[in-house]
């Protein structure tokens, strides 16, 4: 498995090579891309901050969760940090599996889970302002313990 937080452009070809196996008939590859509009505001660019050492560790944990639920062959994830322009890819998730159904379902579930728990943050900058996007307020830590990500 491959889990990376990188400062430069992402490398989809490398992820696909990483997950390709002779016994796998399907690869699902997801690109998260910077959109020009969010919640009705015209976005100029984004800034991503990350806790890289923990982010790659949590990626591995959620990948293991996914492997426990779907018969997937391999998984690779890359996320970019720093300033990203409209149209640039911030996230790549690649999943290979013997069959396409598992590849699609596991890749989708992995992206959903990624956005819940991986310590990466996005600042949206628009004409005349900026804000950190913090998703939904989460449960308080006392009920959201380490076991949630195991």
């Amino acid at each position: 498995m491959l889990f990376e937080v990188v400062a430069g452009p992402l490398d989809p070809q490398r992820l696909v090579e990483h997950v390709r196996r002779d016994e796998s008939g399907a690869i699902a590859l997801f690109y998260g891309v910077v959109r020009n509009v969010n919640m009705g505001r015209r976005v100029l660019y984004l800034e991503y901050d990350a806790y890289p050492e923990m982010a790659t560790k949590v990626m591995r944990q959620i990948a293991e969760e996914i492997r426990a639920r779907w018969p997937v062959t391999e998984i690779a994830i890359q996320h970019r940090t720093g300033r990203l322009e409209i149209g640039e890819a911030s996230l790549l998730v690649a999943v290979s599996a013997p069959h396409r159904k598992e590849a699609f379902e596991a890749c989708h579930a992995l992206v959903d889970r990624f956005k819940e728990v991986v310590p990466i943050w996005k600042k949206e900058v628009w004409e005349g302002g900026e804000t950190w996007i913090e998703g939904e307020p989460v449960e308080h830590p006392s009920s959201q313990t380490a076991s949630d990500v195991n």
């Binding site: 998260g32 891309v33 910077v34 959109r35 969010n38 919640m39 984004l46 901050d49 990350a50 806790y51 050492e53 923990m54 560790k57 996320h79 911030s90 996230l91 992206v111 959903d112 990624f114 956005k115 819940e116 728990v117 991986v118 310590p119 990466i120 943050w121 996005k122 600042k123 950190w132 996007i133 913090e134 998703g135 939904e136 307020p137 989460v138 308080h140 830590p141 006392s142 009920s143 959201q144 313990t145 380490a146 949630d148 990500v149």
Partner: protein, 89 residues
């Protein structure tokens, strides 16, 4: 207060902007928990106050609850709600 070591503290995203630093330290009193450390940091960086209920905590890169005790040499991270990928979930 008996000093029993130090923990490194890392701040990210909005919290690092509010504290105007990405890294600091706390002196550990006996049985000092993660939640206690956040209260200490709020005295040092008043703009952090009010985020107790949305922040999550990690010690040595593992999520922990606020009553988790800190030990000498630990790395405590203050984790605002995450927003990986290109948009709000």
């Amino acid at each position: 207060m008996t000093g029993v070591g130090k923990a490194r503290v890392r701040l990210f995203a909005r919290l690092s902007e509010l504290a105007r630093t990405r890294e600091t330290e706390v002196e550990l009193g006996e049985g000092l928990t993660v939640g206690d450390a956040y209260a200490l940091l709020c005295r040092r960086f008043p703009d952090l106050a009010g985020f107790e209920n949305i922040v999550m905590y990690a010690v040595n890169a593992e999520y922990v609850s606020r009553d988790h005790p800190l030990r000498d040499g630990d790395e405590l991270a203050l984790i605002p709600p995450v927003s990986g990928g290109a948009r709000v979930v």
